[in-house]
């Protein structure tokens, strides 16, 4: 039975058309490399803010949030809300003014984080970070493509099309990776970062429009909040109750997630920072993360509740209904694959090549939590709205890929091509380099996606790659922007040491029930974190701490740069123009923080 009706297809196609038209309408305005790479630095704060919120749930996060809801209950909300919001506020008030205001010796504004590192520290730090960033961004873009293809395949969206084209079963997966990748590449080539941002605005609106009905219908069907409470495992609607399944106390969870994961994402990841750096002026650049944070406080309800609904429905079983029609006996058989039957609620188990459920080392069925969200969409939305819900899911995944490609073509054009390959490149040449980098990046990402179809564990490697690149970088940027004494040698050593620390921690720890390999423990298993999440937090925190320490020690031992060289590259103590309670941005930040705490307190 095809899951999508023609009304769903119509809405999906209209969405695809609008995504392309954003590129088409912007194409005539793209004349210089600045228009293409940094959207002309002319975007209003509301666009930057919503694009930032959109990119924040882009890529894998939209699946991960539904997964967290199904796996950890509302504790997932605190991870999401309290974890990232302090980091976003810190980025807005402290770091954004530094990154946005930094200028090269010729007075040109900084276009990327590696470029900032080059000015603040030295060229080797810049090159190291640029190369690592490119590898991380393209790898995770590939994994996002693969995750998207799995969703499309699980919902049988392209099955008819693949049948008509006589493609083999693996062809469906390839088709579902190639089509979205091509769509993203075309609009990016046409409109650059601006097209990516315009589509993030569209994506974010579609996300709310597609998922809000799921939450409303879901609550109605479960019989309101109390009905939902009765139908999910005990304690799932109680904050911190799920923390024993996470293996760390609620406080540790919030601190760890907030400082390290939140900081590594919102204060160091150029895929997100590029959106605020495209703002039209410094005030807009500061306001963008604030707007994103204000929006994000309310997102968990939209993204995590559907995961809970997945658990509240009965698990599908193979059934045989016998009925008698005018003497003829009919056997109506509904066949449910074994992996789905072994699942919990609507969350299916991971299936191996024969369609049998996968079991972990201790004999437990491994659930495929990433499919919680798509399964809920199909179960709760009538045809018509289902098209919109699916568009929302695909929009998030595509915008994540777009953010990765846009950021990596900027980093390639500014920090590899212009900085090292062709120092006297003209503006036209930089523009071309950026566009070719987008094409190359899309091809590499597609390659990574193809690799992931063979080694499905690669999906779990995203956390490791994040810890490898962003956790140490957060320490470097923090010291670079706030501590005058930090030196280039210190930053370089800190980044290398942070990476080594990540690998060391990852190699010696293994979450309970996991097999050694990409999940960790490939050197020797010295300790067992309780869950994958606890493991990821531990790795990132260790890398951050080592990087911070090594940067400080090496900096103190090496020669500092003079104050005049560093003008405008550090946070300057602003002339006290007004008391803090008279600055609207500080007030806004305080309100957002209180709202985030309030959202968490509801569940205590």
């Amino acid at each position: 039975m095809p899951i999508l009706a023609s009304a769903d297809w119509l809405i999906l196609l209209i969405y695809g058309f609008f995504v392309l038209s954003a590129g088409l309408s912007l194409a005539p305005s793209i004349a210089t490399s600045g228009d293409y790479l940094v959207a002309g630095r002319k975007q209003p704060s509301w666009l930057c803010g919503v694009a930032l919120a959109g990119a924040g749930v882009g890529s894998l996060d939209v699946l991960a949030m539904g997964a967290a809801g199904a796996r950890y209950g509302v504790t997932g909300i605190s991870l999401f809300a309290l974890g990232s919001i302090p980091a976003m506020l810190f980025a807005a008030l402290v770091l954004m003014p530094v990154f946005y205001g930094a200028k090269s010796a010729e007075g040109a504004p900084v276009r990327s984080i590696p470029e900032y590192l080059g000015l603040r520290f030295d060229q080797k730090t810049r090159a190291l970070n640029a190369a690592l960033f490119l590898a991380m961004a393209l790898f995770s873009a590939g994994i996002a493509l693969y995750a998207m293809a799995r969703v499309i395949a699980a919902l049988h969206v392209f099955d008819d099309l693949a049948d008509r084209l006589n493609l083999p079963p693996t062809g469906v997966l390839l088709l579902s990776m190639a089509l979205p990748a091509l769509l993203v590449l075309v609009y990016l080539l046409l409109g650059g970062l601006a097209a990516a941002m315009y589509n993030q605005l569209l994506q974010f609106s579609v996300l709310v429009a597609g998922l809000l009905p799921v939450v409303l219908v879901g609550l109605k069907r479960a019989g309101g909040w109390s009905g939902l409470k009765a139908s999910v495992p005990a304690g799932f609607l109680h904050l911190g109750a799920g923390s024993h399944s996470l293996g760390i106390g609620a406080v540790g969870l919030m601190l760890g997630a907030g400082i390290v994961l939140g900081g590594g994402t919102w204060c160091a990841d150029f895929r997100l920072l590029q959106l605020a750096m495209a703002a039209k002026n410094a005030a807009s650049a500061r306001r963008a993360p604030l707007i994103a944070a204000a929006v994000r406080v309310f997102l968990p309800l939209l993204l995590i509740l559907p995961g809970l609904f997945a658990l509240s429905l009965p698990t599908p079983r193979t059934t045989i209904v016998i009925h008698n029609d005018n003497g003829a006996i009919y056997h109506e058989i509904t066949v449910v694959p074994p992996a789905v039957e072994a699942g919990q609620g609507l969350v299916p188990a991971k299936a191996d090549a024969n369609g049998q459920p996968v079991k972990s080392a201790d004999g437990q069925v491994v659930l495929d939590y990433a499919l919680a969200m798509p399964k809920v969409l199909v179960a709760f939305l009538p045809s018509g709205l289902l098209g919109l819900g699916l568009a929302a899911l695909l929009a998030c995944l595509m915008s994540g890929v777009a953010a990765s490609l846009a950021a990596s073509n900027t980093v390639f054009a500014c920090d590899i091509y212009q900085a090292f390959l062709k120092k006297d490149a003209s503006d036209k040449q930089i523009l071309h380099a950026g566009r070719w980098a987008a094409v190359g990046g899309a091809l590499l990402a597609f390659g990574a996606a193809c690799a992931a179809t063979r080694v499905s564990d690669l999906l779990d490697a995203v956390v490791l790659v994040f810890a490898l690149v962003n956790a140490p970088l957060f320490a470097t940027l923090l010291l670079g922007a706030l501590w005058k004494r930090a030196t280039g040698h210190g930053a370089f050593a800190g980044l290398i040491a942070g990476m080594a620390a990540t690998l060391l921690h990852h190699g010696t720890a293994l979450p309970r029930g996991a097999q050694p390999g990409l999940h960790g423990g490939w050197i020797a298993v010295l300790h067992h974190p309780v869950s994958d999440l606890a493991m990821g937090l531990g790795t990132a925190a260790f890398a951050f701490a080592v990087s911070l320490l090594v940067t400080i020690v090496v900096s103190v031992c090496t020669k500092a740069r003079s104050d005049t060289e560093l003008t405008g590259l550090l946070r300057s103590p602003e002339p006290a123009k007004a008391a803090w309670w008279k600055q609207s941005e500080v007030i806004a930040a305080a309100i957002i923080l209180l709202a985030a705490i309030a959202v968490n307190l509801i569940f205590l």
């Binding site: 009304a7 119509l10 809405i11 209209i14 969405y15 609008f18 038209s21 954003a22 309408s25 912007l26 005539p28 305005s29 793209i30 004349a31 210089t32 228009d35 959207a39 002309g40 002319k42 975007q43 666009l47 601006a194 941002m197 315009y198 605005l201 569209l202 609106s205 579609v206 429009a209 009905p213 219908v217 109605k220 069907r221 179960a379 709760f380 939305l381 009538p382 045809s383 018509g384 709205l385 919109l388």
Partner: protein, 101 residues
């Protein structure tokens, strides 16, 4: 309504980059157009299928297409209005900018 905004957009890009380089399309217009269109389609689809209980068993018997379609239509029109205003302001600023230089 959606159609009108579209013609405005193309008229805009005709005088586009030569006059004053840079990006000058208000992002809200596309969002408004999308939701006006999908809202209308969903509401019409919901209206024509309002008696089919089997379709709406998933959404607890509510004709979710009709009601949510209408809500999206309103949202789309509001975004279009904001987008048009933003676009006009942007054009005014651009017309004024070269004169000052």
């Amino acid at each position: 309504m959606a159609r009108k905004a579209k013609t405005d957009l193309t008229a805009k890009s005709a005088i586009g980059p030569a006059a004053n380089a840079g990006i000058h399309v208000d992002a809200r217009i596309a969002v408004g157009m999308f939701f006006t269109l999908t809202g209308t389609i969903l509401a019409a689809f919901g209206f024509s299928t309002r008696d089919r209980m089997d379709t709406y068993a998933r959404s607890a018997g509510i004709d979710a297409n009709l009601w949510w379609g209408l809500a999206l239509l309103v949202f789309g029109i509001v975004m279009l209005a904001f987008g048009r205003r933003g676009q006009m302001k942007m054009e005014k600023d651009r017309a004024a900018a070269p004169a000052r230089r």
